[in-house]
């Protein structure tokens, strides 16, 4: 019988704040500061990469500088992005000075202890039941659990660096196919300097028996994190993948530019869930993570399906649009999002659903919650191309305002090039209802708890779509963020 009560829950919440703000004290091996061919060669050499990958990186780097020179920083988002000095940062940091760890025994105790503190025990005997975890700190994966067990079914789940060594043909065939390095400035940057991340391959007809998860941790100061994740799901395969992340509290901003690529073949299904909790900066708006992420799924096969579910609570700036290219006939894309911002946070997030195949369907449900002086925007594109017969989309985007100093915005783009499409979009913006707050208070519930209940209720539909292991954590996280938001 669980004894953890709502009351404990709220008390936990009240005490927590950003509890992930500590730093791990291990020495790092870093690349020289700044961004150059030298940096890229350094990273590639550390990871003992094959020549083709170094070439890929160098091409991406050249493209990045070209975009930067020509002023192609994405400026259409409703974000105020301070100018970033790309030369004033480190692009590679290996905690404990090792570029890779062959076994957990080699990992410094400090690192393991701190992952444990984050709720990610890596030693097999203590590992979370039913969830395989790849833990990445700065530029290096420190360990992956349940690897052998998964391998028995032919599932590959390992760090990206390891995949490059052990499964180069799979990496080469799929990497950059969904998000080419030319896609945008941050994608070019990532392609040039990406360090680690996860690789996941589900063979034909295999349902992955456990949740796969990657936990990303930025530790080193002044260091960007540029992870890269690639998920390939063969015909009839299924996988549910989950990503979590945190960073220490630092006064300077930290750059995070990631790429996630998913390829789903015939009848394959991939669920990708994110609980994004990068350090959001101080209440006064100092520091925090700048989160520029390109996530995209290619539903290449018939009747394939990809679901993105995200809870975005962290980062000073979020620029993120997990998307689906619905190429296979009958393929399905889903996007479920809760984005919460407070203090001086800015979020511009949403999705793109590109309907290319016949009878493709997409669903978008987005719930934005803004408090403090934050700005929270939904931006989403639904495009039905000329040959996408009988495409269907339904979008619902709601925004909730807490306090009168924040902003909540909705920017949908609906582009229809086929006369059989049915596309529906609805959006509402409102504040937390005074009558709802009063009703709760009239039942003896404090204002803060009432706000928690109402906002969690509002977000519940989305949070319920997260894997069970993370749903409670997500709910708690949302409540922690709500602390102090009563208007």
């Amino acid at each position: 019988m669980p004894t953890y009560t709502e009351h404990d829950f709220f008390e936990d919440v009240a005490e927590q704040g950003y509890k992930y703000g500590f730093t791990t004290n291990v020495e790092s091996d870093k690349a020289p500061k700044g961004l150059s061919e030298e940096t890229v060669r350094f990273i590639s050499a550390k990871k003992e990469e094959p020549e083709w990958l170094l070439e890929f990186r160098l091409k991406a780097l050249r493209h990045f500088f070209k975009l930067l020179d020509e002023g192609h920083e994405p400026n259409w988002a409703h974000l105020n992005v301070p100018s970033i000095d790309y030369q004033d940062a480190y692009y590679y940091a290996a905690p404990g000075k090792k570029a890779k760890y062959d076994s957990l025994d080699d990992v410094p105790d400090e690192i393991l202890a701190d992952f444990e503190k984050l709720g990610i025990p890596l030693r097999e005997q203590a590992a979370l039941a039913g969830v395989a975890v790849d833990a990445v700190m700065d530029s290096v994966s420190v360990g992956t659990t349940f690897k052998e067990e998964l391998a028995k079914q032919g599932i590959i789940f390992c760090s990206f660096s390891e995949a490059v060594q052990n499964h180069p043909e799979l990496v080469k065939a799929n990497m950059g196919k969904v998000v080419p390095y030319t896609d945008n400035l941050y994608a070019a940057l990532n392609s040039a300097v990406f360090s680690d991340g996860s690789f996941c391959y589900i063979p034909k007809g295999v349902r992955c028996p456990m949740e796969l998860s990657t936990y990303f941790r930025i530790n080193e100061a002044n260091t960007g994190q540029f992870e890269r994740t690639l998920i390939v799901c063969e015909d009839g395969g299924y996988v549910s993948y989950m990503e979590g992340c945190t960073a220490p509290m630092r006064e300077e901003y930290q750059l995070h530019a990631a790429i996630v690529e998913i390829i789903a073949h015939d009848d394959a299904e991939v669920k990708y869930s994110t609980v994004q909790n990068w350090y959001p900066g101080s209440a006064e708006g100092a520091g925090g993570v700048y989160n520029f992420v390109t996530k995209r799924a290619l539903c290449s096969g018939r009747n394939s399906k990809v679901t993105w579910t995200q809870l975005e609570t962290g980062s000073a700036i979020t620029w993120k649009y997990p998307s689906c290219i619905l190429k296979g006939d009958g393929s399905v894309g889903e996007f479920y999002s809760v984005a919460f911002t407070k203090d001086f946070q800015q979020a511009d997030t949403g999705t793109k659903m590109i309907h290319l195949g016949k009878n493709t369907r997409s669903t978008i449900i987005s719930k934005g919650i803004s408090a403090g002086r934050s700005n929270n925007s939904y931006r989403g594109l639904v495009r039905v191309n000329k040959k996408a017969e009988n495409a269907r989309n339904f979008s619902q985007c709601d925004s909730l305002l807490i306090g009168d100093q924040c902003g909540a915005h909705t920017f949908p783009y609906i582009e229809i090039h086929n006369d059989t499409a049915q596309v529906e979009h609805e959006a509402t913006t409102s504040k937390v209802g005074e009558d709802q707050m009063f009703y709760c208070q009239a039942r003896g519930i404090s204002e803060q708890d009432a706000l928690n209940l109402i906002v969690n209720g509002y977000a519940k539909e989305i949070l319920a779509k997260l894997p069970m292991e993370f749903a409670v954590e997500a709910q708690k996280l949302l409540s922690v963020q709500l602390e102090g938001s009563v208007g």
Binding site: K386, S399, A408, T410, E415, A427, T428
Partner: protein, 436 residues
């Protein structure tokens, strides 16, 4: 900056005109001061391209291609007036030819005392003080190259002033004639000022005489006093060669109601910009429109409702029917500023796409900085419900009739927003013809 060497003819001519061809009729130019500033603003803003977020779905280059020359002075003919006639409409008739007020062709009889319907240029010459607080007062030319171009080049137009307490029952019908034996461009300009609790309805229609391409760059300003009631209706129905960029700017004091409605039946490339500012408490802003795009017609509707004051309401309804290779664009923004508490804003855009080569883009936006608001938008795009067609067919209606019937019902919602029966009848008839 605009590189004139590479710029379209329209701009070359515009620049020549700016260099001093204004006092052609010998009269002093009442807008001289404004023109210089507007010219600078136009050059600074530059021509928009699809790289600009606000123009991403409309490429103006083809519409700017013809060798346009500025419209020369001319008078209306009987045929022009006949072409502009709306059956059963009892209205005050104002005729504007090639951007100039045509007093002879206008029929201003029966206006209530105190009501002014006159030439804008003439008013500026005779009694400049009358325009001081209103003319150009609310348009932000520095943000919009075409509004700036209009401010720089417009010669004349219609000035309507309805004083406090007067309800003008008969609508004012503004007939805009453009002669186009060769490609012609014109800058139309209207100013409608309505006093406290006063009421007016302005209906604008357009006639082109000639077969050449035209480019209209119109700007209409509406200033509504406390509790005033203003309706502005435009019917764009000039033909495939008629291109336009138009701008309607309304500014409302407390408790006023302004409604601006645009119907587009036949055009080349049209961009209709509207900015409504309910600036006093209790204001009500309504904006609506219907576009039926056929052939290569491209109609882009861009609206901004700027809620700067508390307790205002806005309603927006646009419908598009697109077939052939037509393109419909709706980009509407509801903007609620910090001061706009207790705003109720409702926005709806619906498109029906009827052929495989037709395109519809919808970008309904909410940008909200006040918390005590109720704002929502909806956007649907799709074909006609096959189930509905089937239902009608199962009652013996032919498929073609069933479709026409359903489309007519779809479009009619917007027609219902027009408060003049004769105009509603005219619109219904045009819709029925279009949908045949």
């Amino acid at each position: 900056m605009i590189d004139l060497e590479k710029a379209p003819a329209l701009l070359r001519h515009a620049t020549e005109a700016l260099e001093g061809a204004f006092s052609g009729d010998g009269a002093p130019d009442p807008f001289a001061v404004r023109r210089t500033a507007a010219k600078d603003a136009f050059e600074a803003a530059g021509l928009p391209s699809t790289r600009d977020e606000a123009w991403r779905y409309t490429d103006l280059r083809p519409a700017l291609k013809p060798d346009y020359a500025p419209a020369a002075p001319a008078s209306a003919t009987e045929a022009d007036l006949e072409a502009a006639r709306i059956d059963g409409l009892d209205a005050v008739r104002v005729v504007v030819v090639n951007g100039r007020f045509d007093a002879e062709a206008s029929d201003l009889g029966g206006l209530p005392e105190g009501v002014t319907v006159a030439s804008l240029a003439e008013t500026a010459r005779q009694s400049p003080d009358a325009l001081a607080d209103t003319f150009g007062a609310h348009v932000r030319v520095e943000r919009d190259a075409f509004a700036a171009l209009n401010a720089a080049l417009s010669l004349d137009g219609v000035y309507v002033h309805v004083p406090k307490g007067v309800a003008l029952e008969r609508p004012i019908h503004v007939v805009n004639v453009l002669t186009a034996d060769t490609p012609t461009f014109v800058q139309g300009r209207n100013l409608v000022v309505v006093g406290e609790t006063a009421e007016v309805k302005v209906i604008e229609t357009y006639v082109v005489r000639g077969d050449a391409a035209t480019f209209r760059n119109d700007l209409t300003e509406i200033v509504a006093g406390p509790a005033a009631n203003v309706t502005h209706v435009r019917i764009q129905d000039e033909g495939d060669e008629a291109n336009a960029v138009t701008h309607v700017q309304s500014y409302q004091e407390r408790d006023s109601t302004v409604s601006t409605l645009t119907f587009t039946f036949a055009a080349g490339t049209v961009r209709n910009n509207s900015v409504m500012v309910p600036a006093g408490e209790g204001g009500n802003a309504t904006i609506g429109g219907l576009y039926i795009c056929h052939g290569a017609e491209h109609v882009d509707t861009n609206t901004l409702i700027d809620h700067v004051a508390p307790g205002c309401e806005s309603n927006e309804l646009f419908k598009g029917i697109i077939y052939d290779q037509g393109t419909g664009v709706f980009n509407g923004k509801v903007f609620v500023q910090r001061e706009g508490q207790q705003t109720n804003a409702y926005q709806q855009s619906q498109g029906v796409v009827l052929s495989p080569d037709a395109h519809h883009y919808s970008k309904p936006e909410l940008e909200i900085y006040a918390d005590d608001v109720k704002c929502s938008h909806g956007s649907t795009t799709g074909a006609i419900e096959p189930e509905h067609v089937f239902y009608l067919r199962s009652r013996g209606v032919s498929e073609a009739d069933a479709r026409a019937m359903l489309l007519y019902a779809f479009a009619h919602d917007v027609v219902e927003m027009v408060p003049v029966e004769a105009v509603r009848d005219h619109l219904d008839a045009r819709i029925a013809e279009r949908l045949k």
